[in-house]
């Protein structure tokens, strides 16, 4: 569909009922859009709701309210047939490549399955497509006959990526795709993802807690805190001029692999812990840990507004 962005999320909310008390607002009204060819990073600490957003987008999570449009098709509330059709255009890569692959299925069968079940290829043509996908992901065509346990973690993530690409999706949702991998293997998979996106131009939502990795692969970055977006900005703006105090704290907390730079960094440790989404703070949800919080922050939720090239939810953003 022309004109529509690859992905448009509008006021998305996922609430879980609690046994006693108000529901847990895991994702609480977030909006963003993703153009074709673009990679958007979604970052935040555990429990901020970033993985729930990813699952809601691919239809694996019941949504409380809001809209998810993938390539112009509404996912929220879509029937089975519509969802099945839409899923051809979007694929997901998970953190753990071991549990993402059926141990009793050969690599060839796993990678070829999307093509087979949709009746797009079979027999020799299917084998040829699988060989091509494996080669493209840095594996050998012969690997099709082997089983997942015969591969290392990095190679298994290549298999998962090959399977995700089989239908040439317009949108790839990656949830911590390199977090389980060692440094040297992580570099290989990041190089592969960069190459594949250059070659195929799919839109990519890249969910990660690792800011260095996000900076490396993403065009824009959204920062989540307690179910809300704190800031959404082009990569360079976010990393060189973070506007939300939470973004600044997060960037300051990541240790740089450079002792000179790291030890010269001003230390602005965030005090306290992330509050429970079952007991959401009033006003700005970051105010309990914010070094700049004023009385208004405790009372009024900040509006989502434009500051320079960035969108930010803060009463006192860095301008």
């Amino acid at each position: 569909m022309s004109g529509a962005p690859a992905l448009r999320v509008t006021d998305l909310a996922v609430h879980y009922p609690a046994r006693n008390g108000p529901p847990v607002r895991a994702v609480d009204g977030i909006s963003f859009a993703l153009e074709a060819h673009e990679t958007l990073g979604l970052v935040g600490e555990s429990g901020c709701g970033k993985s729930t957003v990813a699952r809601a987008i691919v239809g694996l999570q019941t949504v409380t309210h809001g809209s998810v449009m993938v390539d112009g098709t509404e996912i929220v509330g879509a029937g089975r047939a519509a969802l099945r059709a839409a899923r051809a255009g979007m694929q997901m890569v998970f953190q753990d490549p071991v549990t993402s692959l059926n141990p009793r299925m050969t690599v060839g069968a796993a990678v070829g399955e999307p093509l087979l079940v949709r009746g797009l290829a079979r027999g020799a043509a299917l084998r040829e497509r699988v060989a091509l996908l494996l080669t493209e992901c840095g594996l050998r065509p012969e690997d099709a006959a082997r089983y997942p346990h015969q591969f290392s973690g990095g190679q298994r993530q290549r298999i998962v990526i090959a399977r995700a690409l089989a239908l040439r999706p317009a949108l790839l949702v990656c949830d911590e795709p390199v977090s389980a991998l060692d440094v040297s293997v992580r570099a290989q998979i990041l190089n592969l993802l960069v190459d594949l996106q250059r070659a195929h131009g799919m839109a990519c939502l890249f969910v990660s807690h690792d800011l260095a990795v996000v900076r490396h692969v993403c065009d824009r970055v959204a920062v989540m805190y307690l179910g809300h977006l704190a800031e959404l900005a082009p990569r360079d703006a976010l990393f060189s001029a973070p506007r939300h105090p939470y973004t600044r704290a997060l960037l300051a907390a990541v240790p740089e692999p450079d002792p000179v730079a790291q030890r010269a960094k001003p230390r602005v440790p965030l005090v306290g812990e992330i509050p429970s989404p079952a007991r959401m703070p009033s006003g700005c949800r970051f105010h309990t840990r914010c070094p700049m919080a004023q009385p208004v922050c405790r009372e009024t939720e900040p509006a989502w507004r434009e500051v320079g090239a960035s969108m930010v939810a803060c009463h006192f953003p860095n301008e």
Partner: protein, 316 residues
């Protein structure tokens, strides 16, 4: 000065394979020494060997550990129990899993004092406060499930340090924590090393954590130390090709986004397939016939900087 902890020529076997081979280092009081490497390099086994907490399948056939000059290998298991928690303590990656779910925070921290909580209560409260637990008077009677991961890690550190051990072995202490909490815990460990003079052995896979807190570092690969020296020197000019590649594989703030990251070809050999000669030779861009035939020993390539590479001078 006698080092707080010295590990001499440690060799650990699983079956016939030396999964840790010739590992040795010393840590001074107040010093933070990092053992860094990827999965399976032997860093965590080394830590467990120091505590004499090796799994049954692992056999130590060479080397010894000296704590403040005392050789621990001559101690009986009963004597060793008096060393653990008193003169030398260990903290782990999963704080929730390492704490007893049926015992209160106070009771677990008091264990290290050898007295029941009734008598040790004041000391436990002071210790909880020292590791940065807000409202210790309330937390002391809570159970681990009532605490966040970061707070559980503080409790584990408190119980490890209440007896004022000279040495703390920290096995990936921040890997399971969020970055803002990680920064708090690293600040705490740094402060303890400085203020109490605790010698810390930090096991990690994260070069950022090493850069932040370690005074010295030993980079491990396939069970051996590839390179060791001052943190600043190793990051400024690595003298082992493995370290150089590992550092180049990290995306950095100063890189051009989407630029090619360095990769290390191939994979770590399985212990049963360790080659003769240098264990990194199969993946090393500098390897030649000598590397494949003769094991390079650690040698001093600059002051206090040791590399186990025949081509240390050629590493870029």
């Amino acid at each position: 000065m006698t080092p707080a902890l010295a590990v001499h020529d440690l060799r650990l076997l699983i079956g016939g394979a030396a999964v840790v081979d010739g590992v040795g280092f010393a840590v001074a009081p107040g010093e933070v020494m990092a053992l860094v490497g990827e999965s399976g390099c032997g860093k965590s086994l080394t830590a467990h060997a120091i505590m004499r907490l090796l799994p049954d399948a692992v056999r130590q056939d060479r080397g010894y550990v000296a704590l403040d000059g005392d050789n621990l290998s001559v101690l009986s298991e009963r004597q060793m129990r008096l060393v653990r928690g008193r003169r030398m303590s260990m903290i782990f990656q999963e704080p929730q899993a390492a704490l007893d779910p049926l015992s209160t925070v106070g009771a677990q921290v008091a264990e290290g004092t050898g007295s029941p909580l009734r008598q040790a209560r004041a000391a436990v409260l002071a210790m909880l406060d020292e590791v940065g637990i807000a409202d210790p008077a309330r937390r002391i009677d809570q159970y681990p499930f009532e605490l966040s991961g970061g707070m559980c890690q503080r409790v584990m550190i408190a119980s490890a340090l209440i007896a004022r051990p000279a040495v703390l072995i920290a096995d990936e202490p921040t890997t399971a924590l969020d970055v803002t909490i990680q920064a708090q815990i690293l600040d705490l460990l740094r402060r303890l090393a400085i203020e109490r003079g605790t010698a810390i052995v930090l096991i990690t896979h994260d070069m950022g954590v090493v850069a932040d807190i370690a005074d010295r570092v030993a980079v491990m690969y396939a069970g051996r130390i590839a390179e060791t020296g001052d943190t600043a020197a190793i990051f400024a000019r690595p003298r082992h090709p493995y370290t150089a590649l590992l550092l180049a594989a990290l995306p950095r703030r100063t890189d051009v986004p989407r630029s090619r990251l360095a990769v290390i070809e191939g994979r770590v050999p399985a212990p049963s397939e360790f080659p003769t000669g240098c264990r990194f030779a199969g993946r090393c861009p500098l390897a030649d016939a000598r590397c494949r035939a003769e094991t390079p020993l650690l040698r001093e390539v600059a002051r206090g900087h040791l590399s186990a590479c025949w081509h240390a001078e050629a590493v870029r």
